[in-house]
Amino acid sequence: MMSGLSGPMAANRPQLDRIRGVEGLNAELCFSCRKCSAGCPVADDMDLAPHQLVRLAVAGPEGEALRSSGIWLCTSCQTCTTRCPNGVDVAGVIDALKQRAVASGVKPRDGRMLAFHRAFLDDVKARGRVHEMSLTARYALRARRVPEGILLGIGMFQKGKLPLIPPKKTATRELRRLFERGKGK
């Protein structure tokens, strides 16, 4: 029963900048009915289930949530948000946790998804549009591993599904400005 997390939490340790208060996410309204976790396609693969992430986001310790690999597994399918009886934007809370983890430099227990997202944005920034082959290569570099799907990729390549030649770069200068503006915050 007491699985997932263990060890005591000091509930009145002061919390810095909790997710509660982020407008529109309504995390504090959660009453732990677990509907989000029951409907989440990947909850079983997460170290912390969505309802636990929401709870940690509200009451802390938030660090626990930021370190979670669960947040990086979220597929953003919005099932939780759509069906929450309290109108908690669960997926939004998880996004906020991911953004906060990145901003505060917290390293997730499993860095693969973060590496992928970074590789993706790298490719967008560099080319304007994503080129699958180049994305895969960037991911391999970032994650320092050969992607598990490499054999599949070869198959797809052979079928003519994956174009080798990248599309021409589009609006990259403009995009760089967008990226920098984001960073400035």
Partner: protein, 1027 residues
């Protein structure tokens, strides 16, 4: 049929008889469910004319659709149906079905209500309820009563016990209305009762007050599309499942799947569908679903022991009387699982049409399971009709559409003279609805006290003939009931046969014995042929006996000189293909009835003068409210208060959940009670002795200080002796001044105590003594109290940290809103399991008060340093209850609170007539609930006090002193305390007013000294011998 007189009476009513400023002694009750029915019966008993207006074709409401009721598992129809018949029979209740209130003019005391009455297309005066029209009608429609699971015809009676028992034509489905042809019903109706020419009528009634009881609509489950209701045939709503369980329902009570009719063995319930769902605009708890699901589980398993039941839930709200025990029992049954996880979606599996459910388990993993059937525990909401009604009447509703009331006057609407009862005032179960109904009736009666009796009628009868010395002369009337009986039973030869029976001087057959012309013939026959006993062989006495008894009474015969033989429901209809055998059976049934009639004796009419004053035990809020309500109706009241102060436990409350000032409310009520000329308050008073019976009690009270005794004579007793806050155990309560009970914290907050100023962290622990093995009930108010106090703390200091350790948050009904608000304000809730309650300890070094408790949702332990620890101490029964219980001869429940006569339908009565109950003496409840209950108790008490004398007749026990040995066996088995033993004469003495004629005594008495008049041993034996 009550409706028969409907329109004529309405039209005859002299609208001008009451001047614009004088009060009208009539009340309109809008809604014919159990609330409306209870309010009507109470008002009629208190001396008011009632118009009971119902939109559907029959009264009965939602309760009629239920199979059983929790927590007693009573058959819903069995306990409701007698009330339906009582309404129909009451000369002062006019049932107006298919009607709604269109407009209300005037003001409190004198309203003119305009009703729109839809046509029934069946003449109620001619209809005998034979049902041939429904049988012959070729057009079908989904049955509303069976929630679309079964079919009905275009002409139909919604259910077999419907009142009035007159079918209605649905013009939306009737071929005559749609295409201009058919008229099959008209062709086959032998009474010519079908009347296609009826049109909508506008009817005006003058009333002094209005009670709104329009009930609820179940939440439309299709609005939660993730559950596939409407798409998947094996997903049902709770109300549909009631119909499945009902033996009279579409599956005959078999728990089968609609998709293939196969037994449903694995069934899941999903809770909170349309409740506690702010995202769907339903920010309230529907208050009944947790318990009805537990009931469904019990019933499904009773139908089929192999049923495996899984309930997917959030908090289990077992807050009511007997609920926690019921829930515990159900959740521990073999094959039953309670899983705390609301289901996200249901998938229908191709092929099997099984339903796949994924849930989050206590093991912190997702699980998938297939079920045969899923029941959605849908919540309740005010229907569109209720909202329209409120708008037309100018009555305010809240954001959810429920009628706006206030905690200090829980059954009053925003418009004076208009009251509310039942679910329209907020989600409520049956007893709460019935309580509100009686409470609303009481307020209407208070308002109209001057006009009481002004519009009621009592039927006048000719003086009764004394036939005791006469030889029996029996008249037998045999009904053909059109062809219902005549087609199967050979009625002419049955009449011939009847003439051969001893003492039968007259026998005849009638086409319809219940028709008005036949009743004239019966009266003539009695007068012309000197008949002194009457037998009717026709349909069931359950519906028609009162009618025939009334008929012979009009001919001057005592009603007990009547007997009936049921040759329709229990003969011609069940042996339709065996005419000869059915005829022989009918003959024997007639012979038995004649044998009983031959020995029939006229019963005495008892009349017992009533002492029209009341004694209220307890001067708390409930007692004072009940007393004031009775005094306002003109009845003198004594209040006996144990302590030296009025107000009871409410003296320790400062404000309500809604922020109302309770102290001011208490003060105001005390002032009104103390200044009322009809109320006498006895402080420091203890009850020493209570004698007597309904109408005439005599009670001795003694001053606690001086011991001086005083005898009070009164007609009714209201027990309002309250309850106490118990001592929490297992925490350093009493040892550390930072540990308080909720009431102590409330006081602390109100008085701005020193503890509070320094407090940074406040911790609440729920169920500190409730829902335990030795106290297995929920104290009902603590969670609401906690939320109230937490919100107040946050209001005083938003920086304060508030933690609540709970098991299930019992913020039922509309208080769910406050629970949500508390979360929004940052109060932190941690759920713990009953087997691992939080611990509190004082650190030896720092003297810090440390609370550690589970947080089940995080799966870890929370540790809080508390400046204040507030414990939800249990509400415990008064130590005095056992003594009062034996003195008043009224029972206690297993928890030590007083036990009402019936948990559903008689929530403020005791089995013993003339004794009533309200407030915390009955069990834990909030102040507004106690106030509504106090009004209800006053209403029930007033229905006794409104009568100058109590009348009783007929089938009661009588003692043959010669045979009686005074052994007391009859006294022991009598459930109503109607029998006492005269110790001197050594004989049993029956109180004819209290006796209900159940016959338990007669069956127990071996010497045969005690017997039931009208159902005597001799009569039963004669009937047996006549076989």
């Amino acid at each position: 049929m009550a409706e028969a007189t409907g329109s004529t009476l309405l039209n005859e009513q002299p609208a001008a008889s009451a001047g614009p400023h004088s009060k009208v002694g009539a009340v309109l009750v809008a809604g014919g469910g159990v609330s409306g029915i209870q309010a009507s019966l109470d008002l009629a008993a208190m001396g008011f004319k009632v118009y009971l207006v119902e939109e559907s074709p029959s009264i009965g409401g939602r309760m009629a659709q239920l199979d059983k009721t929790f927590p007693t598992n009573d058959c819903s129809m069995c306990i409701l149906s007698p009330k339906l018949i009582d309404c129909a029979r009451n000369p002062n209740i006019e049932i107006i079905t298919r009607a709604r209130v269109d407009e209300v003019r005037g003001q409190a005391g004198n309203f003119t209500a305009v009703l729109l009455k839809k046509p029934r297309f069946v003449n109620a005066e001619k209809c005998t309820g034979c049902g041939i029209c429904q049988e012959k009608c070729p057009w079908k429609a989904d049955s509303e009563f069976d929630c679309g699971l079964g079919k009905r015809k275009a002409i139909y009676t919604p259910f077999s016990q419907a009142v009035p028992n007159v079918p209605v034509i649905d013009p939306e489905r009737c071929a005559y209305f749609l295409k201009g042809t058919c008229r099959a019903c008209e062709k086959f109706c032998e009474r010519g009762a079908i009347d296609f020419s009826q049109t909508e009528e506008k009817v005006e009634v003058q009333v002094g007050a209005i009670i709104l009881a329009p009930g609820y609509e179940p939440f439309d489950a299709a609005k939660k599309p993730e559950y596939g209701y409407g798409r998947y045939r094996n997903v049902l709503t709770g109300l549909q499942f009631e119909r499945i369980l009902s033996a009279a329902g579409p599956t005959g009570g078999e728990v089968v799947r609609p998709s293939d009719g196969r037994p449903a063995r694995k069934i899941a319930w999903i809770q909170c569908v349309g409740s506690r769902d702010a995202a769907h605009g339903r920010n309230y708890c529907s208050a009944v679903c947790c318990m009805y699901a537990a009931k469904h589980v019990t019933m499904a398993r009773e139908h089929d022991e192999g049923v495996q039941a899984t309930v997917f839930h959030n908090d289990v709200r077992s807050y009511g009387k007997g609920f926690e025990q019921y829930y515990r029992q159900v959740s521990h049954m073999p094959g039953v699982r309670y899983i705390r996880s609301i289901v996200s979606t249901i998938k229908e599996l191709p092929g099997t049409q099984g339903l796949l459910i994924r849930y989050w388990g206590e093991d912190n993993k997702a699980h998938e399971e297939e079920f045969d059937l899923v029941v959605l525990s849908v919540g309740m909401e005010p229907g569109p009709g209720s909202l329209e009604l409120a708008e037309k009447l100018g009555v305010e509703v809240d954001a959810n559409g429920f009628c706006r009331t206030s905690p200090s006057s829980p059954v009053s609407t925003s418009r004076p003279g208009i009251f509310v009862a039942g679910v329209f005032a907020g989600p409520a179960d049956i007893p709460q609805s019935v309580t509100m109904a009686s409470g609303a009736a009481s307020l209407a009666a208070q308002l109209l006290a001057d006009a009481r009796g002004g519009l009621t009628t009592t039927k006048e009868y000719p003086p009764e003939k004394d036939v005791s010395g006469e030889r029996p002369r029996i008249g037998v009337f045999i009904c053909r009931c059109g062809t219902n009986i005549g087609r199967v039973v050979d009625v002419p030869s049955l009449a011939d046969y009847a003439r051969t029976l001893p003492n039968v001087v007259h026998a005849e057959e009638n086409l319809f014995t219940c028709s008005i012309d036949t009743s004239r013939r019966i009266i003539e026959a009695i007068e012309q042929q000197g008949i002194n006993r009457v037998v009717v062989a026709a349909c069931t006495p359950r519906t028609h006996e009162p009618l025939f008894r009334d008929t012979i009474r009009q001919a001057g015969l005592n009603p007990t000189l009547f007997e009936m033989a049921n040759i329709r429901e229990q003969c011609s209809w069940v042996h339709m293909h065996e005419q000869e055998v059915a005829t022989r059976k009918a003959a024997e049934l007639v012979s038995m009835a004649v044998a009983r009639a031959r020995l029939g004796r006229q019963a005495l009419h008892f009349s017992l003068p009533v002492n029209r004053s009341a004694l209220v035990l307890g001067g708390g809020m409930a007692g004072m409210t009940a007393a004031l309500s009775l005094a306002e109706q003109g009845f003198p009241v004594h209040i006996a208060e144990k302590s030296d102060q009025l107000g009871g436990i409410a003296n320790r409350l400062r404000y309500s959940l809604d922020g109302e000032d309770v102290s001011a409310q208490v003060k105001a009520l005390v002032a009104r009670v103390e200044s009322h000329p009809l109320i006498t308050v006895h402080r420091n008073a203890e009850v020493r002795e209570a004698r007597g019976h309904v109408g005439n009690f005599s009670t001795v009270i003694a001053g606690r200080g001086d011991g001086q005794e005083r005898n009070i004579e009164h007609g009714v007793i209201i027990v309002a002796s309250g309850a106490n806050e118990g001592q929490p155990s297992g925490y350093p309560y009493g040892a550390d001044e930072r540990v308080l009970t909720l009431l102590e914290l409330e006081d602390e907050i109100a008085s701005g105590g020193a503890h509070l100023a320094r407090a940074r962290n406040v911790v609440f622990i729920q169920c500190a003594g409730s829902r335990s093995d030795d106290r297995p009930y929920c104290s009902r108010t603590c969670c609401r109290q906690t939320v109230k106090l937490a919100l107040r703390l946050k209001e005083l200091n938003p920086e304060i940290d508030v933690h609540v350790f709970y098991r299930d948050m019992m913020t039922y009904g509309l208080s769910e809103e406050s629970y949500r608000l508390a979360r929004e304000r940052g109060v932190r809730f941690h759920r713990y399991r009953p087997e691992a309650p939080p611990q509190a300890s004082v650190d030896a070094g720092s003297q810090a008060l440390l609370v550690t408790g589970e947080d089940c949702d995080l799966g870890r332990v929370a540790e809080v340093k508390a400046d204040i620890l507030a414990l939800a101490a249990p509400t415990i029964p008064n130590e005095d209850n056992a003594r009062l219980s034996s003195m008043l001869k009224v029972p206690l429940d297993s928890d030590g609170f007083f036990l009402e006569a019936h948990m559903k339908l008689r929530p403020v009565d005791f089995p013993r007539d003339g004794v009533f109950l309200c407030g915390l003496a009955h069990g834990p409840k909030s102040l507004d609930e106690a106030l509504a209950q106090a009004q209800a108790a006053a209403s029930r008490a007033a229905s006794v006090l409104a009568q100058e004398a109590l009348e009783a007749l007929g089938t009661v026990a009588e003692v043959q002193r010669r045979k009686c040995t005074g052994c007391g066996l009859c006294q022991a088995v009598c459930p109503f305390d109607a029998i006492t033993i005269d110790e001197e004469a050594k004989v049993a003495v029956v109180n004819g007013v209290v006796c209900k004629g159940c016959g338990a005594c007669a069956a127990a008495c071996w010497p045969g000294a005690i017997d039931i008049l009208g159902m005597s041993n001799e009569q039963v034996l004669a009937a047996i011998t006549a076989l």
